[in-house]
Subunit: 300 residues, 2 copies
Amino acid sequence: MPIPHGDDVSAVDLGSGILGVLKTDMLVGKTDVPAGMTLQQAGRKAFVMNVSDFAAKGVKPLVALIAIGIPNHMKRKEIQEVAVGLKRAAKTYDVRIIGGDTNESDDLTIVTATFGICERERIVLRRGAQAGDLLAVSGRFGKTSAGLKILQENRGVPPKVRRGLIKAVCMPEARLDVGLKLKNMGATSSIDSSDGLAWSLHELSRASSVGFEVSTLPIAKEVKIFAEVHKLNPFNLVFYGGEEYELVVTLNPKHYARARQDVKKKMCIIGKAVDGRRLTYLKDGLEKPIKAIGWEHFKR
Amino acid sequence: MPIPHGDDVSAVDLGSGILGVLKTDMLVGKTDVPAGMTLQQAGRKAFVMNVSDFAAKGVKPLVALIAIGIPNHMKRKEIQEVAVGLKRAAKTYDVRIIGGDTNESDDLTIVTATFGICERERIVLRRGAQAGDLLAVSGRFGKTSAGLKILQENRGVPPKVRRGLIKAVCMPEARLDVGLKLKNMGATSSIDSSDGLAWSLHELSRASSVGFEVSTLPIAKEVKIFAEVHKLNPFNLVFYGGEEYELVVTLNPKHYARARQDVKKKMCIIGKAVDGRRLTYLKDGLEKPIKAIGWEHFKR
């Protein structure tokens, strides 16, 4: 197989150094559509999840198929809302929806299958990081965990802060623009953070056989406020979240130093890859281990 | 789009006259897995449905992704059975399963997304039939409708006959071997019969702007017996069935005449394409219209 099993996408060798890249994602109403998310947003999210995996590999998705399971209580207007969400997301990322399948099912089920092509040496895998590489992320974390706490646990927060946090849950964005520049900025490994930052770091660590020292906590400003108001540990909100679609990337320092300034602006350096397999967050001279848990575990 | 919307598969132009061909199918436990079908057979069926669409287009499927929704009451062993069914089917049709997604869902949901490549001029579409073309099928019909009546309505029938009919429901086969020879035998249009023979003929009729005269009823011998025992109309069992995966094809008569004998053996000529859009079955000088209904309608 041209891509190791368990990476963000799968691929088939099409010859002449070209890979066909494929990825499927299933969104299920009960588990993936929190109360407060509209049907249009659910459709959009199903699409974004899929595009995010392509973004993390530096591959442009070209076309998509959509299989939808529709509960029989859903009205035509509601089904159309899901379709609008899917179509708008497809337009945003310049992907053509070329086919699909519809069925009756107990719960709203949206399965996207996306396809793209790329040169074999342009794809960025989970393996490839080396000790000494810079560790970078495409954005700040914790908004989705905080937003879910607002929606599911009815936590209060100033309106302006609330807006940003809910938006993170209901209108996630795939970092396709950043993803397509990964190779140009010297990315040696990459993953999206859909299972949480800590989980993503552990996946890169396992695939690349390196450890990570995180020296900067990439916390979103709304999350800082939310954590203060509710006396929550910012570290947990940032590392043990999930359903976030930022890219977590290692960069060759020399290559990155030569990269264009506009490309660099898109990334935030938060630490470095080190020998061994330890994952730690360093603050004020203290080391805190980053555990291999995702948001599913942290909720309990 | 290189393939008209609504054909059996979708495609994307990969340049140099090559198409990337894609198809997704969703199997839902409640509607697609009748009582009497094992989980292994359900997995197998999900795969066969998808391969059948490739067969009907004359395209070899290369790789597949599988997204599975698993109800939380399912045991590990049961999930493994589904996986075995999928894997064996993949092996049968020489397709590699290269990725997927698993989720929790209310009902067993299996979504296959299959990919293959082919030369643009080798693909056989639903459009392309011309008046005067031969109408052919890859096998005999009615077994699935009869088999479902046995499983769902508890209809009795001699054991040997029963076996063949149940097998048609539980262990369907995709006609990939025939499909890959379609172009060599002069196929001008093609569709699989998953929505029933009548429905498939109407789809070819619509896409190609021709009518059909069926002069031979392609009835399976078990179905003849089943119809006699239960005093059912063989015509209905043959035309208004579904979940059958035979190919329904039109053939250029001159090209077909020159085709090799071993290729011809795989097809059964049942009539011809005619001018106009009328679909009729001719028997003993009488004309009977073939309606545009599938098995879903006929059940009611």
